[in-house]
Symmetry: C2
Subunit: 341 residues, 2 copies
């Protein structure tokens, strides 16, 4: 994603009144488990950080190392390990239980703390005179998973965010294998939660999710772990995000037919297991509102019956209302996104 990038097409327009007010460019890769492209818009070879969009791939290590079994994790805990949760009370309690399973508490988390992104939960915490703890951090489930894996692996529990830590080395190896791309030292940044952020080509990320969704191109053990995580997210989608959020609404609506996961800075990953494809999206400017429109439009385009689905339509063409509730415009996918072969 560095020097002299190719120009990504405009994929989303923001409308106000009769005019286009803003434009979002981006890239989309849809690929099967063999790496065959089903859709390629923009610079799909560009390397970028998927951020939280790969949490489900990071969680493979938690399952494969035996920690999920050791600590008796069910769907709720596995979904939290894959989550960017909104810090609602049941998210926080769930992560605390994950840690307790390994004999740990929130003091072991190295994600930092932020207020719940779920506004009513944040307001309740303010009213109670509280302050946010690391459990409220949207990545706390992922971090609890790292800690549980480190515990089972007998690795140090204080340095689990270092790229050289055994858990992160495993995570990197999983990403490299599934994406089919090596990760060099220059491709490792630091995420908002202090865990390593690994940069990968967009088409490789889509391939990784095609493999994750189908179990193809990986060991039987890894395929079983992937299936278990997919089922956990499909069964407990509220624990992967939270109330009223795209990820939760889409996976609640479609069940195991659609996997989706947000990342920061306009990253989005997903998969359509029955179609055998993985999806990776990057909004060039980091705009999450556009990444969500892009993902909804791509699913509507590729999922049988998707073009007629009302939940997808709501997210692909959101209406913008002002502070008095007046509809002043909206977002819409461009023809480049809807129809480019």
């Amino acid at each position: 994603m560095n020097d002299a990038p190719m120009a990504n097409p405009v994929l989303v327009e923001v409308i106000r009144g009769a005019l286009v007010e803003s434009r979002h460019r981006g890239a989309v890769a849809v690929v099967d488990a063999d790496g065959k492209a089903a859709l390629a818009l923009g610079d799909v070879a560009a390397r970028g950080y998927p951020r939280s969009a790969v949490k489900a791939l990071q969680a493979l290590v938690l399952v494969e190392c035996g920690a999920a079994d050791r600590y008796g994790f069910g769907d709720e805990q596995l979904a939290l390990a894959c989550a960017s949760h909104s810090g609602e009370p049941a998210h926080v309690a769930g992560v605390a239980r994950m840690l307790a399973g390994a004999g740990l508490d929130e003091s072991a988390l190295q994600c930092g703390a932020h207020w719940p992104t779920h506004r009513p939960s944040a307001d309740a915490l303010i009213r109670a005179g509280g302050t946010p703890s690391p459990l409220h951090h949207n990545c706390s489930g992922k971090h609890a998973g790292f800690l549980c894996a480190a515990s089972v692996m007998g690795a140090d529990l204080r340095t689990y965010c270092a790229p050289s830590h055994p858990v992160q080395r495993e995570v990197q190896a999983v990403l490299e294998e599934l994406c089919g791309a090596a990760i060099g030292a220059q491709d490792v940044g630091i995420d908002g939660c202090s865990a390593p952020a690994f940069a990968l080509p967009l088409a490789g990320l889509a391939r990784a999710f095609a493999r994750f969704a189908t179990g193809q191109g990986m060991s039987a053990e890894r395929a079983a772990a992937a299936g278990r995580l997919r089922a956990a997210c499909a069964n407990r989608p509220w624990f992967v995000a939270g109330s009223g959020l795209f990820v939760t609404e889409i996976m609640s609506h479609f069940g195991a037919r659609v996997f989706v996961k947000t990342g920061a800075e306009g990253a989005y990953c997903g998969a359509l297991p029955e179609e055998g494809v993985g999806i990776a999206v990057k909004c060039e400017d980091g705009g999450g509102r556009a990444a969500e429109v892009i993902m909804a439009a791509v699913i509507a385009r590729l999922l049988p019956g998707g073009a007629q689905d009302e939940v997808l339509a709501k997210y692909a063409r959101p209406v913008l209302r002002n502070w008095r509730g007046i509809a002043v415009g909206g977002l819409r996918p461009t023809p480049a996104l809807l129809t480019t072969p």
Copy 2:
């Protein structure tokens, strides 16, 4: 800003680790009062909504119609009329005083209500069991100005947001004259505060602010009104935005040498009165973070001594820190922004 726009250059890069994570494109027009371009990046002929970035031009009507004198407005009230304020207690009290001058209260405001954007003020309101009123809306000072103007003009006080209302017709005429561009029915949207949002060419907006900054190309009466508003903003910059915000910090730092004002969706306007130029910025994707970097970089480039100014440098190259305070990257202007003739 509609069909087949020219590709705007990348003006801001978002860095994480060793990679560019996101890119913001945009357009910049810097023009003198005669319309002569000092700097033109991207599609400066494109028409877009400046949103709140033209509040100081809208406030000309308040002064010119005599309402500011009638109600005894000083710098504080005039700055609030030009403001997107952060809803801190003194902002709210100041707008209430503007309304009281005309015998009105917050029930006359038609901007809707939102929580203070100043987080500590919002938290205090939550702790007190309160809810936001229209006074907390960032546009409440502008709306109070509309109401005071309507009152002095003997116009209806309930329909002051309609494009056909005498106050809005005056606002439109001011914008058309200063920008040197007609506004058609298709160029009028609805803003977040329910007031009309007028779309104008970027180069025209820059010209309008060159005139606003110099008093050239307008009647003596209008030039006096502009000077009064400029002085009010320079003297009371906290009332134009709020604690810790770019607009307030820059105008506090430079005084009357720099005028700046944010708008939503990546719009920014400003002026360098001593250089005789107006500035209009539009981040193509609506990203406010990039618009701020662009404005800081443009001022640093054009203001004598700006290249060495530490406050400008802080805003032109902001550091991104994660939830544990670790520096993980930052934003930076591109060579296209720094050096293109």
